[in-house]
């Protein structure tokens, strides 16, 4: 029998196997930002509620690396990461928040319940800054160096074992 006859079947089996393998792989739904290594845009966001300051590009270009936390009071994982942001703050990290599509009264209630780890919180009503820096959801945390350049992106809520990584990234951004 001609061996060439088996080629189509072998090809079919190969693609079947490939599709089967892909089905068993966990689906990666993260879309990483391609803005790492690039500068934050010029922006100026109003305060997210009474009693806090808004934030602008100048806050990130003062020589000290900081964390930029994209969050919202309506975001459930943001509740889970609140204690870990608090622990980052206690270990010397400065965190500037940007509240996405939020209301001042909701922001105040969230911070009243879960604590306020932020030095400043800007309000972004149309996700403008979020889109500018290539973030595709809440919460996300970016490490910004002292010149306003994005150095690292953490997608999803910050968990206990992410704290050390973020502190190390801040340290690295210092150099």
């Amino acid at each position: 029998m001609n061996w060439k006859l088996w080629i189509p079947l072998a090809l079919f089996a190969f693609f079947l196997g490939l599709a089967g393998y892909q089905l068993t792989q966990p689906k990666d739904e993260f879309i990483p930002s391609t803005m790492i290594g690039k500068s934050l845009p010029q922006f100026d966001l109003p305060p997210a509620m009474d009693g806090v300051e808004g934030t602008s590009f100048a806050n990130f270009a003062d020589g000290k690396p900081k964390l930029l936390n994209i969050w919202a009071s309506w975001c459930l994982p943001c509740i889970a990461e609140a204690p870990h942001l608090e622990s980052l703050k206690e270990q010397g990290a400065e965190i500037i928040g940007v509240a996405i599509r939020d209301r001042p009264e909701d922001v105040a209630e969230f911070l009243g319940t879960h604590g306020n780890p932020y030095t400043r919180i800007g309000m972004d009503d149309v996700s403008a800054i979020q889109i500018e820096i290539g973030s595709s959801g809440v919460p996300e945390t970016f490490v910004i160096d002292g010149q306003g350049v994005i150095r690292y992106q953490h997608i999803g809520d910050v968990r206990a074992n992410d704290v050390a990584t973020l502190l190390a990234q801040l340290e690295e951004a210092q150099q």
């Binding site: 879309i31 599509r101 909701d106 149309v126």
Partner: protein, 147 residues
């Protein structure tokens, strides 16, 4: 009675996944005044991928972030930006993922090369078959007999 109570509860169910309660961005659901510019914006929005809802374009999706992206597209079109310029601006932020119109790059070249290769292969096979058919009358007879 119990069934009615349960049915009634369904009307007051809270959504499982939280979403914001802000009204959509100004240009999320509002068309541009100029129909020509709006047509340009829609054409672009249909080829931009929603980041939150996989396999939908931002024109299709009701997710707030897709609305915010439509807002960006319409505002930029109205400012006179070229649609491809806006696509490039988004691809600079989210990579190839955000565009439904793949460009040739280090990762996408097989998309373009494989069909061209298959057409070439089919042409070679066809040419060889036809040439053989012409050369060998016995094979032709055999085929005719079979038919």
């Amino acid at each position: 009675m119990k069934a009615w109570l349960i049915a009634l509860c369904a009307f007051f169910a809270l959504p499982l996944a939280a979403q914001d309660s802000l009204p959509p961005a100004p240009y999320a659901y509002t068309q541009l005044d100029d129909p020509k510019l709006e047509a340009q914006a829609v054409e672009l929005m249909e080829t931009l991928r929603c980041l939150k809802c996989q396999s939908q374009s931002i024109a299709d999706s009701d997710v707030p972030m897709a609305g915010d992206m439509r807002h960006q597209v319409r505002v930029r079109i109205e400012q006179g930006q070229d649609p491809e310029e806006i696509r490039a601006w988004l691809m600079e932020r989210y990579g190839d993922y955000v565009s439904y119109k793949p460009a040739v790059s280090a990762t996408t070249w097989p998309l373009f090369a494989i069909p061209a290769f298959l057409v070439l292969l089919a042409l070679i096979v066809l040419a060889r078959r036809l040439a053989r058919k012409g050369d060998d009358p016995s094979e032709e007879e055999a085929l005719e007999d079979a038919a």
